[in-house]
């Protein structure tokens, strides 16, 4: 009886594993394909897109990186994302601390006000922001991206960080009070360090979302030397002809850094992201 049951379970297990192996192929094959095509010449791509490249033709990469300005684009993306990340961590956690730990009448209202941002798509503010930024010199300016990125990162940050601050034990704050700490010290020296996980999570989410953002960057930036990575990709699709091989190299350049970071931190990222979501 027992034997039979074990046998049955292992068949189910094998089926489950087979299912996940197939899933993995569906997930990895497109990425491996683009990697292989990116080393081909335009001619090779059209004759047999699925054969392995005959030789490693790295000119595609050199061209995309230099003439295609992907190098500059990557620096721009990095600049925008890091600044947004730092500002959103700072501004988000101060608000969350005030909402999560301090006692004031309007805290509920302010929380709802910020949470509204989660429901509002960026498209709805695109035109007013575009026209106004053009007037104050913020269009075609990386700060013109940072401000809306920051704004749209705040709701998630506040959502998650408020959860973290609320879950901190009361005794800590109380003993700090008795020691004569000011409220700013309680925030910066006691509560913030204890919510490091939360900061890490929100930081990651902010970074990933802004690193990949296309619409705002496309509308607000016109200067080639100020474009971010997702926008620069579309440059290879020309009106009269498309340079396929360089396009593929550009796709690889755009996704490889994220893949590397993901592989290095995958467990923290995955645990962190879910921890954050569940906390809320």
């Amino acid at each position: 009886m027992n034997e039979k049951k074990k046998g049955k379970i292992s068949i189910v297990k094998i089926l489950i594993y087979a299912f996940f192996v197939i899933m993995s192929v569906i997930y990895l094959a497109p990425l491996l394909w683009v990697f292989s095509v990116s080393f081909k010449t335009n001619g090779e791509i059209f004759t047999d897109p699925f054969a392995l490249p005959e030789s490693l033709f790295i000119d595609n990469y050199v061209f995309s990186w230099t003439a295609g300005k992907l190098g500059i684009a990557m620096m721009n993306s990095f600049f925008v994302c890091v600044i947004t990340l730092l500002l959103s961590m700072f501004l988000g956690s101060t608000v969350s601390f005030a909402i999560g730990r301090m006692k004031w009448k309007l805290s509920g209202f302010v929380m709802v006000y910020f949470m509204m941002g989660m429901m509002i798509p960026v498209h709805c503010v695109l035109i007013p922001l575009f026209t106004r930024f053009a007037k104050v010199g913020l269009s075609n300016n990386l700060w013109g991206l940072i401000l809306p990125y920051l704004t749209f990162s705040l709701p998630t940050t506040i959502f998650i960080m408020t959860g973290f601050f609320k879950s901190l034990p009361n005794e800590l704050v109380e003993s700090a009070c008795i020691d004569g700490c000011s409220i700013y010290q309680i925030f910066a020296q006691i509560c913030l360090p204890l919510s490091k996980t939360g900061l890490f999570v929100t930081g990651l989410m902010t970074f990933v979302a802004n690193w990949n953002e296309l619409l705002l960057a496309m509308v607000f930036i016109s200067d080639d030397t100020k474009k971010t990575l997702p926008v620069s990709l579309s440059k290879f699709v020309g009106p009269y002809n498309t340079n396929y091989s360089q396009m593929f190299a550009a796709i690889v350049i755009a996704i490889v850094p994220t893949i590397i970071v993901y592989c290095a931190f995958s467990n923290q990222i995955v645990e962190g992201l879910t921890a954050g979501a569940v906390k809320g």
Binding site: G68, L138, N140, N141, I146, S222, D223, G238, P239, N243
Partner: protein
Amino acid sequence: MKKKVLSILLTVAMTASLLAGCGSAGSGAANSGAADAGAADSAAADAGSTGDAAASGDVEEITWMFWDDLEATEDLISKGYKEVIDRFNQDYAGKYHVTPVTTNLEEYYTKLNALVASGEAPDVFIVSPGPNLTTYVEPGVAADLTPYLDADWKGSFSSDAVFAQQTYDGKIYAVPLNIAAACVFYNKEMFEEAGAAVPKTWDELIDACEKIKAKGHTPITISAGTAWCLSMLAGYLCDREGVDLKKIDSGEESWNNPKTLDAANKMIELSQYFQPTAAGDTNDVATAGLYNGEAAILIQGSWAIGQINGENPDFEQKCGVFQFPEIPGGNDPNRVIAKSDSLAMSATTKHPEASIALMKYFTDDTAQKYTAEVGGKIPVTNVQYDATKAPAQLADVMDIFSNASSTFGFYNESLFSTEAGSTFDDNMVAIYLGEKTPEQAFDDLDAWYAANKK
């Protein structure tokens, strides 16, 4: 209470300074607001990399806006423009300096409009004639160039006719740089093999397609994935049928009329000779179909010459060109679709001399010679160029162009707005895909005009 107010003020001040910091750190254009602020900014960036003499305050800085990346481009005409810019900056070093502002074609007008709206319009910018140019002429964004042209410039152009699409009420608002004509490119070998003659009339075209098809080749390669390519064919058919586009666009005639319906039915008849993937193929793929010897006929603008010869140099000698065939009983068969790139000058520029000097560089002999010999487009001046250096097909195109009785624009660039043009394109594709009958499509166009034309 006082404390509370104070703290609020403090926070406001903090935020305000944060915002202000953003504005000034970014471009420096926030306060000065003038068009040259942006220019000075980019010039400063430029000076760092090229070591130009921009640091001395005497150099007049201008900007030139263009729809292709001058560094990354493969397009021969764009490469020629880069040479013009470099030559200008070299010759005028210490006096004038131009900085190109480039985008891709897709975003070009978005960016241009944003700059115009913020008072930072580029001094000189490229624009397509037709509704696009009209949007800049009507609100006074583009400057009247007639005085400059009349002074000592106009004489170098091949004829006054080149300004036809740039003239509003007798005033010229943009200068054409080159002309491309839409023609029919064909594979001479395939025609010979099939025993087909170069068609002069509609029936001969059908006959040639039939013979080529019998030999097992695809007669026509075309792109419906890139809508304007199919729309170009529809435009030719309509014009050959004698459609009066001006009357339709102004509302005197309706889209749904016997001539447009005939044209649409001819397009459907011809579509049986298209390559099977025409619906999904992009412009590139369709053009590749000709130079890779997969199909015999491509209806395309002469800008494709550079691409064809560049991708497959062996094809240059096999490639013939003919005029779009006549439809007996229809319109004058010597009319040609032509398209020019044009330059306009901002009406608010602070440096009109520098801007005009730059524009003259685009139409001088060196630039125009390049246009013909390398770019494969028709020059706008009477420049003498070496025909043996120019692509083989250009001679045929020049022939067709100089024998043309008159030219007309792309249909989608001849209507009252860009959106009207796209709507026309979309409906032509819908007819080809069999999604709409010609009657439905033209009724829809009429309905769209009724709803959108003011």
